[in-house]
Amino acid sequence: MIPQPFDYYAPATLREALAMIASGEHKILAGGMSLVPLMKLRLALPEHVVDLGRIPELNYIAESGGVLRIGAMSTHHDIESSAAVRAHCPLLAEAAGHIGDAQVRNMGTIGGSIAHADPSADYPAALLALETKIRIVSANSDRTIDAAEFFVDAFTTALEPGEIVLELQAPVEDQGEGYCYEKVPHPASGFAVVGVAVRVKKAGGKIAMARIGITGMGPRPFRDSMAEKMLESGTEIGQATQSIGQGEEANSDLYASGDYRRHLARVHAARALRTALTRAS
């Protein structure tokens, strides 16, 4: 990596880190899997970099009171392999396992991923389907918002200068829920051309609850509540997924047009739902 020169800070406590970034002039470094490539290309030119990697209090995964709490510095690998995540939010573990490659999963963090808000990132689909809350702190504030409010646009989040993602809070999934994350990876980058995360609950052979989060298709991840409602009111999967992404903007790039992405979202939502149903009891 040949970036421009920058100052590097490695605070040992959260307090110290928040004080450092309060001015909004400092760039946070977490796993570096998004920031470092941009610095290497000299597209990101931060002058001050604050590494959160030496702050142990940001790296934890724990369940309490029906909520799974995940520290921002938990790596994708931590999440993929955590017994607590697998037991309480298996959808999130499944999505984590789809991210990049082993090296990326060993370095990259969930806090970094959502703060970066890449429109093709995997987590957001699962976080929306899980109705996760995100706790955000700064030197003098502490707030908790819904994931749906957090993702504003491509690469744009509700984070204000001086704020960091502290924790993700996911309600523990009920016993017997079915889940599935389906991903169409870009053959070059491995990012999601489209990723669909679903959760379902069955009752009396019918879908009693459905959650569908979609990433990659448009500039920001979204939940398709219309399809969810149709499923919950008995519409068959094929039909309920026909309208997914309607009215949402869809991205185009060299590899896949917006129309194709929308189509993939529908096909893979249906497939994910079917898999989830087979996993539900």
């Binding site: 941009l38 597209l43 890449d118 870009h186 980058s189 500039p219 991205n251 185009s252 790039d253």
Partner: protein, 154 residues
């Protein structure tokens, strides 16, 4: 890269048109714009700082308005270049009365070059759309403010 879109701006067409010709308004609405200096008839030098996620870059360039056909349409040309690449956008803006204000339709061609074009394929279109959207959001806000001050003055 062809881009089209349409946005609604509050207020009548004449006013929306006038706003879009006003360099002060343009400077305020163009994402990251740090200044527009008149260098000729309907032509301005532009300085811009683009920040998106971790990416940041300074651009210098030009903004030009041509083919003025008030209050219906005009062409807007924006070009800028900096260390991270260069961008050239050329679009026809067509204004028509719409429910609740003026609909501004944008039909343009955006060319991107340099690093951002070489490494940002996955993102250029999304980003371009987003920047255009931000422009119109700000324009709509500016139009509302203007309307508010006008009605206060009434």
């Amino acid at each position: 890269m062809k881009l089209t879109g349409s946005y609604t701006v509050p207020g009548p067409r004449e006013r929306a048109y006038a706003l879009l010709q006003d360099p002060a308004v343009l400077a305020q609405c163009m994402p990251g714009c740090e200044g527009l200096d008149r260098i000729g008839e309907n032509e301005y030098a532009m300085r811009m700082k683009m920040t998106l996620a971790s990416i940041s870059g300074r651009f210098e360039g030009k903004v030009r308005i041509s083919d003025a056909n008030p209050p219906e349409s005009f062409r807007l040309m924006v070009e800028g270049s900096g260390k991270i690449g260069f961008v050239k956008g050329d679009g026809l803006l067509t204004l028509s009365p719409a429910h609740g204000g003026t609909s501004v339709r944008f039909e343009g061609d955006v060319q991107v070059g340099g690093t951002i074009a070489n490494v940002g394929q996955r993102l250029v279109e999304t980003t371009a759309r987003m920047l255009i959207k931000r422009f119109f959001d700000k324009l709509a806000a500016a139009a509302s403010v203007l309307r508010a001050t006008e009605s206060a003055a009434d």
